[in-house]
């Protein structure tokens, strides 16, 4: 049971209706639909930040799943475990991102290791990121990528806290996928 009532299709406000046009819009939309003017700007932001962009899909999924697991967000960790499977991450990589095994046991690429260290530091904090962590990242990524990836961590934290605080339920369809893939 979620912390707030999720808005059903029949009660979807006018600005929210496009998100319900194809069926269940998901718990995040169904919660944001309570404030349609926020939904109207939040969803394009989320879609742009977490969706297809100049950064490749695998790299983005590393960041999103790692952040979600470190923040202890059940909803996002479950959802992005499935997304990681679909993106082609290996079982060992997913287990490491979820914090079940050490990261350096599953990842050997210095670029990805630098990114994961950066992700941990930005997501958890508190305070400034260690200079060595930033230096390792900047050695692997250009400034536009650093900006986009850092915002991706921050946006994922935003969603993690939103979903956790409101106890948004993972959809039955997603839970079935998780089980089928051998995850909880």
């Amino acid at each position: 049971m979620s912390g707030v009532r999720l808005v059903e299709a029949g009660q979807a406000p006018l600005l929210a209706r496009p998100y319900y046009a194809s069926g269940d819009p998901g718990a995040i939309v169904a919660a944001l639909a309570h404030v349609p003017e926020v939904l109207e700007v939040a969803m394009p932001f989320i879609a742009t930040t977490l969706g297809a962009s100049a950064i490749d899909e695998r790299t983005k999924e590393l960041v999103i799943l790692r952040t979600s697991a470190r923040l202890g967000c059940r909803y996002c960790t479950q959802t992005h475990t499935v997304a990681a499977c679909d993106t082609g991450l290996s079982r060992a990589e997913i287990a490491a991102l979820r914090g079940e095994t050490p990261v350096d046991g599953a990842f050997a690429n210095p670029r990805e290791l630098a990114l994961l260290a950066w992700t941990d530091a930005v997501a958890i904090g508190p305070g400034p990121v260690p200079p060595a962590t930033r230096a390792a990242l900047l050695a692997q990524f250009e400034d536009p990528e650093v900006v986009e990836l850092t915002l991706l961590v921050a946006a994922t934290v935003m969603l993690n806290r939103f979903c956790t605080a409101l106890e948004l339920p993972t959809s039955p369809k997603m839970l079935r996928r998780l089980t089928a893939e051998g995850w909880t």
Binding site: V7, G10, Q11, A12, P13, L14, L15, A33, H34, V35, P36, E37, V38, E40
Partner: protein, 275 residues
């Protein structure tokens, strides 16, 4: 000129902004959209907020105001507030017409000199049929109140809300309102809308954005498409016609409403003239 003002000028957006002054009422009509009754959650907008909304409506280019409820005249400050609002924009205030004491009627005199109308509900030309939907003594109180408003120079409009009305009954109703001092041009007949309490009594027609004029409507819960939007059913506010939760600054919901109206495919603004 603002985009909202242009839209009002061009007839793209209706010019009236509705303000839900409150949701509680001394009556509990069978088809009430807002499930109003004496114990309903008041959802009172408040005097200062209504004045602010009216000023911003005028600044944005809207051309008229509507005040509705519940029964707005249960609010002690309402007669004087209506005069202040009418000094900003032409105004219609809806009422069930049953709470007009002599004192309250006297306090309404200033409206005679202002662009203001009181719209009173009267559904049937005989007491039995009328009161079956609107409660005991309703007919008597309304036909007593209307001439007393008219004789003070206050413009009165009558709204008849019915599922069906045949020609003979319509003619009896018209003879009645003319006798009370209300001309034909100030009488509107509209269908019951299947929202609120009407759902439980299986009354009314379904109405959504295609049927309802896009009149910006402000309540304590947000901004809605049409005064038929912020209905209550089973104690819960309907949000299918909610536009924004933000009501101030008014330009936020006004701009959102305009976007919605402009996004409609051509030809989908056909209406059943539900007003």
């Amino acid at each position: 000129m603002s985009s909202v003002a242009e839209a009002v000028r061009d007839g793209v957006l209706p010019g009236r902004v509705w303000l839900y002054a409150n949701y509680h009422c001394n009556l509990a009509c069978t088809y009430c959209l807002t499930e109003s009754d004496p114990r309903a959650e008041r959802r009172e907008l408040g005097e200062q907020r209504m004045l602010t909304l009216a000023r911003q409506a005028a600044e944005l280019g809207f051309s008229a105001l509507g005040v509705t409820g519940g029964e707005p005249f249960l609010l002690p400050y309402l007669p004087e507030l209506l005069a202040k609002l009418a000094a900003i924009l032409p105004l219609v205030c809806l009422s069930n017409g049953t709470v007009f004491t002599e004192r309250r009627l006297e306090r309404l005199r200033p409206l005679a000199e202002l662009p203001a109308q009181i719209q009173v509900s009267l559904d049937r030309p005989e007491p039995e049929a009328n009161d079956a939907m609107r409660g005991p003594e309703n007919f008597r109180k309304v036909v007593d109140a209307i001439p007393r408003l008219v004789e003070r120079g206050v413009r009165v409009r009558i709204a008849t809300t019915v599922a069906t009305v045949d020609d003979e009954e319509r003619e009896r109703l018209c003879r009645l309102h003319r006798r009370l001092g209300v001309p034909d041009t100030d009488h509107v007949i509209r269908p019951i809308v299947r929202r609120g309490r009407a759902v439980d009594h299986d009354l009314g027609v379904d109405a959504g954005p295609a049927e309802l004029p896009a009149e910006l409507t402000i309540t304590t819960d947000g901004a809605f498409w049409s005064p038929f939007g912020p209905t209550v059913h089973g104690g819960r506010l309907d949000t299918d016609l909610l536009i924004t939760r933000t009501t101030l600054p008014l330009r936020v919901p006004a701009a959102a409403l305009l976007r919605l109206v402009q996004a409609r495919p051509p030809g989908t603004d056909a209406q059943l003239n539900i007003q």
